[in-house]
């Protein structure tokens, strides 16, 4: 029964990208693609949970449930790579424009918007999340969540000695 639950969990996962694409195209909201991805995850997890309940797995559902979470996390990572992947974007610039030098790649990054645009885009994201606030050309860590996230990230980088990050 437990094996059947795992197999159903894996089989249903094939529908995640399909439903995600359908949502984006039907609602015509590509800018909301990340939000829609989480909606799809919620639908997927509810569906598999109903299946586990029907299979009367009880606490054993923790195994297949963990598998469903793995699937969502892997999909999230792949989609994030597509939307914001730095190396992938560099490869696309080179493929679209032919051989070029580093400074030319920087200038053509993000459809010709340049590298500074990429940093601005990241700043916009953390501002929208309420972690920082931009005022008169200055950026300030705005909230307790921002302070906690910043301190935790620094502590973690110190703990496993991985340098400043972000490169």
């Amino acid at each position: 029964m437990l094996m059947k639950a795992h197999m159903l969990t894996a089989a249903l996962a094939a529908l995640i990208p399909v439903v995600h694409v359908v949502f984006i195209r039907v609602l015509r909201k590509p800018e909301r693609s990340v939000g829609l991805m989480f909606v799809v995850f919620v639908i997927y997890v509810i569906t598999v949970t109903v299946i586990y309940a029907r299979l009367e797995l009880g606490l054993l559902m923790v195994g297949p449930m963990a598998l469903s979470v793995i699937i969502c996390l892997v999909y999230m990572e792949l989609f994030s790579m597509l939307c914001r992947g730095f190396s992938l974007a560099i490869v696309s610039v080179l493929y679209d424009n032919g051989p070029m030098k580093t400074e030319e790649i920087c200038a053509l990054y993000g459809g010709g918007r340049g590298m500074a645009w990429m940093i601005e885009k990241r700043i916009d994201s953390i501002e929208k999340m309420g972690l920082v606030r931009r005022r008169s050309g200055r950026l300030r860590v705005h909230s307790l969540a921002g302070v906690l996230i910043g301190r935790s990230a620094r502590f973690y980088k110190e703990l496993i000695k991985i340098g400043p990050g972000g490169v």
Partner: protein, 168 residues
């Protein structure tokens, strides 16, 4: 009850993995992700801890290890990988982390842009892709090799499917 025990086993295995990983990474002191090494540490932590329990006489049900402990361990590992790669590569986290250290936890946008050395960021990735056989470096001019061309085509296809116009 068995589900709880095998979930706890997976959590213990993850703690072992994290401990070994932290000790090794503190010794090698690198900003390179070293994902292959991380995966080897994860697999060895899982397998050796399970075998260790069998050796000391604690009976384990192989089916439960595979169908409960393994996915729970995998779930914790994938969560951790998100955190690890996120902290290592995330520009957003780097910005917040740097701002925390500044006076009044603030800085000008221009100074933030200068801190990053944008060309260095691109150069780091280019060097890595040359080493991994994705790009060819000819007199500091970079060109896609077949593997990169296939990836660029697949990327363009996915962007079209998902209706994503500008990425990166």
């Amino acid at each position: 009850m068995a589900a709880i025990l095998y979930t706890l086993l997976a959590m213990g295995q993850f703690v072992l993995f994290f401990g070994v990983h932290a000790v090794i990474w503190r010794r090698i002191n690198t900003s390179d992700p070293k994902l292959k090494l991380l995966m080897i540490v994860a697999v060895l932590s899982f397998v050796i801890s399970a075998l260790g329990l069998l050796v000391v006489g604690i009976p384990l049900d192989a089916d439960m290890v595979l169908l409960i402990s393994l996915p729970v361990f995998g779930c914790l590992l994938v969560f951790y990988l998100h955190l690890y790669v996120g902290v290592l590569k995330s520009v957003s986290l780097r910005i917040i982390g740097d701002l925390i250290l500044k006076e009044e936890r603030a800085d000008t946008i221009l100074a933030i842009l200068n801190d990053f050395s944008l060309e260095h960021m691109v150069q780091t990735r280019l060097d890595l892709m040359v080493v991994n056989g994705w790009l060819r470096d000819q007199a500091s001019s970079y060109e896609c090799l077949p593997k990169a061309k296939r990836m660029a085509l697949f990327n363009a296809f996915l962007k079209k499917i998902y209706s994503l116009k500008v990425t990166g």
